[in-house]
Subunit: 341 residues, 2 copies
């Protein structure tokens, strides 16, 4: 097709040089016209765009990444994909980023700081244009890696007001306090808190529960059931069996995540323990299926899709050097009262 290449490493793809030639301008003008960097004569821009259309030119991300400081990929770091919570987050962020012309590099850390660091190093090699990470809990090395990279970064799930830190999330502690208060309002007194995984956000929920319970003089260490194993429906059932056998009996169980609570409700059915009469059961996150349980599960709805979209939008502005409203967005939460409490 093109004939101006000497040997034959030509890839056959239409290049910026081809567009420049067709539009009768220099390559650098094409580059600037396309990126909207610096002002370019509107007439030249029009000519360039016409040539781009005609030739079907698509910029080469590898070349762009090599020549400039960053490419068009955005690194996403989440703990797990097996938790619907993060899938919703990822899908929403991906949608927004794709529309803005960015590709997504998804890294799954499995709540492991060492793995997170390794993944991040790999992603950084690709010179991402930006990154979206979950929460604030990570190794000092990873933190330094992020800061030192100069790559714009937005934190999701939690918020902070620290200088130069961007975040979109909600107060896990406030949400947990709201749920605990709800249980108190329902007349419950011996409210157990059951958790798995014990990641930072789970511990923030624990703290919220503790605060409210202490303020009421109802706190007791024996009401805390903390299990570092991964959260699952099965584990919820196991925890329920343990807790329900406790004396003096608890009259409510607040699970740190819906999957545990769902498992508990199923175990209750199996064991013939009446919910909420004998014991109230509450969850967190409003995951798929919680509204279908028997009885339907009372929980905290966390706006994952909204969070993912808002964080991605904030990041796009950062990457483009556009103004970024507030650096910290609290998307809030909603107490969803159903039959289980």
């Amino acid at each position: 097709m093109s004939s101006k290449r000497s040997r034959s490493r030509a890839t056959g793809r239409v290049t910026l040089a081809d567009v420049a030639q067709a539009a009768n301008v220099s390559p650098i003008t094409v580059s600037r016209a396309l990126r909207g960097e610096r002002a370019v004569d509107p007439e030249l821009v029009a000519r360039v765009q016409a040539a781009v259309q005609r030739l079907g030119y698509v910029p080469d991300p590898a070349a762009r990444a090599l020549a400039s400081r960053h490419g068009t990929q955005v690194a996403l770091l989440v703990p797990l994909l097996s938790n619907a919570l993060f899938v919703d987050l990822v899908e929403a962020a991906q949608r927004t980023l794709t529309r803005a012309g960015y590709q997504t590099l998804i890294g799954v850390t499995h709540y492991d700081p060492a793995e997170e660091e390794q993944i991040l190093r790999g992603q950084l090699l690709h010179r991402p244009a930006g990154m979206l990470v979950t929460g604030f809990d990570r190794s000092d090395t990873t933190r330094a890696l992020i800061a030192g990279s100069g790559v714009p970064c937005v934190h999701v799930m939690e918020t902070t007001v620290a200088e130069g830190v961007y975040s979109v999330g909600l107060s896990q502690e406030q949400a947990s306090m709201a749920m605990t208060r709800h249980l108190l309002e329902r007349g419950r007194r011996r409210i157990a808190f059951a958790a798995a995984q014990l990641d930072p956000r789970t511990l923030q929920r624990l703290e919220g529960w503790r605060k409210v319970m202490r303020a009421q003089g109802l706190y007791a260490p024996t009401l805390e059931w903390l299990n570092p194993a991964p959260s699952s429906i099965g584990l919820g059932g196991v925890l329920f069996e343990q807790i329900i056998g406790q004396t003096p009996p608890v009259d409510a169980i607040f699970f740190c995540n819906d999957d545990l609570a769902q498992g508990a409700l199923l175990a209750a059915l199996r064991l013939g323990v009446r919910v909420p009469e004998r014991v109230a059961v509450a969850g967190f996150n409003d995951l798929t299926g919680s509204d279908q349980m028997l009885p339907p599960l009372t929980t905290i709805r966390t706006p994952r899709a909204e969070m993912g979209a808002a964080a991605a939008e904030m990041l796009v502005n950062l990457m483009r050097g556009a103004p970024v409203g507030q650096a910290s967005i609290d998307v809030g939460f909603e107490l969803v009262v159903r039959g289980s409490t």
Copy 2:
């Protein structure tokens, strides 16, 4: 640090040239020694590797992608991330690929051929070293895009014996036939087949059920309950309510996916319909929670992790030009009989 750069676009990173200088060989020798391409004098290889260690050299994927035909990223195409099935697949594939030195580019197609095509175009721009796609059902354009790209491709979930096509999967039809026969052996006669989403693999399961039912002279169109809406626990409940009201009554319902079956079991509890006495309920895929249901769900266990790992391994061999045993691997399935049938 290094001082041989003229202007100042130096990125500060250690380059292949730095390694070459330190090892006292030419850059191209370093390149070859590192990639294991062509034979290189063992002594030089050792010197190069020592220099790499000492300087902490890490190859730049962008430069590599630009200079060669492909980079170190692998494109992954899945329909959904909100189905645990695909998450298991992705996680397993990602683990194997990461270990082999490849990064993963995950694309979510939402079962939309147009979206799949668009995502693939975007991924191809990054010159992936390989790609992993779900099944065989896609637009002709997408198919041509894959073939024309020359990028090694492995298909997951289904298998085929077509020339030059690589696949790792299982026979959806065989699995479906096995489940239908199991229900027959349990003495069931009016076995309904209920499905959502209606993607290709679901239709293959439908076909398996049809074959067995027809062979027994038990087939009736009114036993088919096909709903194009996305599969979900909630929809399973809705379908169950519809089907259970049918006359003459069905004595078994085979759901094409576990989430539907789980919803059905919850609906049965809600409605007071006894399972399996009044009606048997079966699912497919053995998803999280199915063993916790009341009664526990009989289903088909599909080895997702194994599939993802095997497909990734096959792809790694293809990318490296290494021998690839068989081009089509059938990972099989397992009938898991629990209380619901």
